[in-house]
């Protein structure tokens, strides 16, 4: 018998924000496969207009609770680029370190709390406390390390306070950095166990050829600033971000969508790993090979594996950054900041993909116009088209509707969507 089914997931759980999945198949033919974004808008770009540019990072951190560090850092960079301010080496290192701890926090939260229950047959992390105590304890250790790192560098993990235009208001003490370094080194065993755990989860053998967009690695695996690249061969400068995003509106989404060379593209851990594999730390590349992840991978379910690989990379790189900071003579916490008229664009790799903030600043140092393009906003169209293609493949295989419903959710969840952030 040919498959017919109606699947409605309203709203999807274990993701940040509100989104719905609906799939309708009739006699083996997909009539509809829809990803709907119903989150309420907040109008941050409009609220930024007229504000003092130095206050923008504090406000922009509030775009997202999970990636507040990324928004704060992108906002700082946009203001600094507009005003021609170049941060010190020490500040750049501390910002990258802060970003690494957020990446680790966000990825571990997603991998263990949001994604793993799908593969361990549970509806949430809570029953895993009894059924998989070692895994839960490991997740808590890694998450606590990441949050402690954010606290020590940024003052707190949600809506960081110490990172400001020009540098930091307070510097971490050397002994705090040394203690963090030690904990990062001992985290290696937990990371190895994480790689093993996720290597044991089987994901559907589904591929859809996709364009991947990220920062372009030039000497190192990129996180803050630099050129932009797509796997279809487009390369742009940071300030040309609009050529990379091409935002447009669609009726079934309160988030804007984006496109580049095709009808959609993807950003995030898988895009970064695909585009910049050679720049990963050798241990992260080993992890990728253990997880069966080789560039260019077109299976969106493998974004989880890419996040695991990045956890290894950021921990290893954090150790190297701390070594640099400990070896160098301490510099001033911040350089003096004089606002001036100009336009500044910042591109930064947030946990879920490349994030852009762009501000036009007037002669009095106030923001005239602001634009923010969010990673999940760039992924919505790709999620939409993945869902359609995945539904087709399920229909062709004659899968049971319960299995399709389950896997469709696993698919969207793999993108780790940050929906309220995308509807800023």
């Amino acid at each position: 018998m040919r498959l017919s089914c109606d699947i409605e997931v309203k709203p999807l759980t274990r993701v940040e924000g509100y989104g719905n999945i609906s799939i309708r198949i009739r006699d083996g033919r997909v009539e509809e496969a829809k990803w709907e974004v119903v989150e309420t808008p907040r109008f941050f770009e409009a609220m930024l207009a007229g504000r003092r540019c130095g206050d923008a990072p504090l406000l922009c951190g509030r775009i997202c609770g999970i990636c507040s560090v990324s928004h704060t850092l992108a906002s700082i960079r946009a203001v600094e680029n507009a005003c021609g301010l170049v941060p010190s080496r020490q500040t750049s290192d501390l910002r990258l370190l802060l970003n690494h701890f957020e990446t680790l926090q966000s990825h571990i939260l997603h991998l263990y709390f949001l994604a793993a229950p799908d593969f361990l047959g549970q509806g949430s992390v809570f029953p895993l406390v009894k059924t998989h105590p070692d895994e839960v304890q490991r997740a808590l250790r890694l998450k606590m390390l990441a949050n402690d790192g954010c606290d020590i560098i940024g003052g707190r993990s949600v809506h960081p306070v110490r990172a400001v235009v020009g540098g930091f208001t307070v510097l971490p003490e050397k002994k705090q950095l040394s203690a963090l370094r030690q904990r990062l080194e001992t985290a290696a065993a937990d990371l190895d166990a994480t790689v093993e755990l996720f290597a044991g989860f089987s994901v559907p053998d589904f591929t859809r050829e996709t364009e991947f967009v990220s920062l372009k690695g030039e000497g190192e695996y990129p996180f803050i600033g630099g050129r932009l690249v797509s796997s279809d061969g487009v390369v742009k400068e940071e300030h040309e971000y609009l050529d990379m995003t091409n935002e447009y509106t669609v009726p079934h989404s309160t988030s804007k969508w984006t496109r580049l060379s095709r009808q959609s593209f993807a950003v995030g851990a898988l895009a970064r790993v695909n585009n910049n594999f050679a720049f990963l730390h050798p241990r992260a590349r080993d992890a990728a090979s253990f997880l069966g992840l080789a560039p260019v991978c077109h299976n969106p379910f493998m974004n989880n594996a890419a996040q695991v690989v990045e956890c290894v990379h950021v921990v290893m790189d954090a150790v190297a950054i701390i070594d640099r900071l400990l070896a160098a003579d301490p510099d001033d916490a911040a350089v003096r900041f004089e606002p001036r008229e100009g336009v500044g664009v910042a591109a930064l790799e947030a946990p879920r993909g490349v994030l852009y903030h762009a501000y036009e600043i007037d002669g009095s140092g106030r923001i005239r116009r602001a634009d923010c393009v969010i990673p999940t906003g760039q992924n919505h169209a790709n999620i939409y088209h993945d869902l359609a293609a995945f539904a087709e493949s399920c229909a062709a295989k004659g899968m049971e509707d319960r299995e399709i419903e389950h896997l469709a959710q696993v698919l969207v969840r793999a993108y780790d969507p940050c929906i309220s952030c995308s509807v800023h």
Binding site: R14, R51, C64, T249, S420
Partner: protein, 273 residues
């Protein structure tokens, strides 16, 4: 403010030092927000599951697939900016014996209510979406504009240590007490350098304490995310700010940021509260 213990029907019991303690069923729901306050619930990992064991979680969409509408306490994060949110809030109010406004967006509108000062959703929608129609109510409002709120937990974000204490008090039926004094008291007790001495503006003199002077302790002036202390002396705030060279419009920009001081600002006067 809190009539704690009121009608809390135990969803189970746990035993503490030989005494039966109710284990209320709780729901977390989010309206217009960044979900950062819910994320705070999952932080402070060392005692995370002990803390969560105080209650039985009935609904927590951000981290849990199973959902139940049978609960006694509702933690509401976020403000109201669309009609369907009013419905969800009212339905939570009907189910819960205790409704908690969780974080500054729920308590005051938070940063979201800044949109009300630039012509509301209609005008802001034009700036962000152009002619694309946006489904929104026009203004962003705190949850207390629509339903009775039993308990407020302030902060952007909420501080987990304070949440743990308040939830423990709530579960044990103890009264929840907020500091009535301003942040400056806490900041002095922490022996922080005064932000005014560092040349930075600060709302510490008028903001409700309880966060442990989180921002001033990191050498960032307070933005008043917790709202006003009891008897906040607004006149003196403007005087102190002026004495340190900060113009009134800069003070206003801070006071309006999280919505907690709106009752002073909307009076159109900067005089005494």
């Amino acid at each position: 403010m809190n009539e704690s213990g009121r009608n809390i029907r135990p969803g189970g019991e746990r035993n503490y030092l030989g005494v039966a303690v109710p284990r209320p069923r709780v729901a977390f729901l989010e309206l217009t927000s960044c979900e950062g306050c819910q994320l705070q619930i999952l932080n402070r990992e060392a005692g995370l599951f002990d803390f969560l064991d105080l209650v039985e979680i009935a609904d927590f969409r951000e981290v849990m697939t199973e959902r139940s509408e049978d609960y006694e306490i509702a933690f509401v994060e976020g403000c109201i900016s669309r009609d369907d949110e009013v419905e969800r809030l009212r339905s939570a109010r009907e189910r819960a014996s205790q409704l908690v406004a969780f974080g500054s967006c729920a308590c005051f509108g938070g940063v979201n209510q800044l949109v009300n000062r630039i012509g509301g959703h209609g005008r802001a929608g034009k700036v962000v979406y152009g002619d694309f129609p946006v489904d929104a109510r026009g203004v962003s409002e705190p949850v207390s504009s629509f339903v009775q709120v039993d308990l407020f937990i302030y902060g952007c974000p909420v501080r987990k240590e304070e949440v743990e204490k308040i939830v423990t008090d709530l579960v044990l039926g103890r009264p929840v007490v907020y500091p009535s004094y301003p942040l400056c008291m806490e900041c002095k007790a922490e022996e922080n350098i005064c932000l005014f001495d560092l040349g930075e503006p600060c709302l510490g003199p008028v903001t409700m304490a309880g966060c442990g002077a989180w921002c001033p302790g990191n050498r960032v002036g307070c933005w008043g995310c917790r709202g006003p202390a009891r008897d906040a002396n607004m006149e003196q705030l403007f005087a102190v700010m002026e004495r340190h060279g900060f113009p009134a419009d800069m003070v206003m920009e801070r006071l309006e940021c999280f919505g907690g001081f709106n009752r002073y600002l909307d009076r159109g006067s900067t005089g005494t509260g």
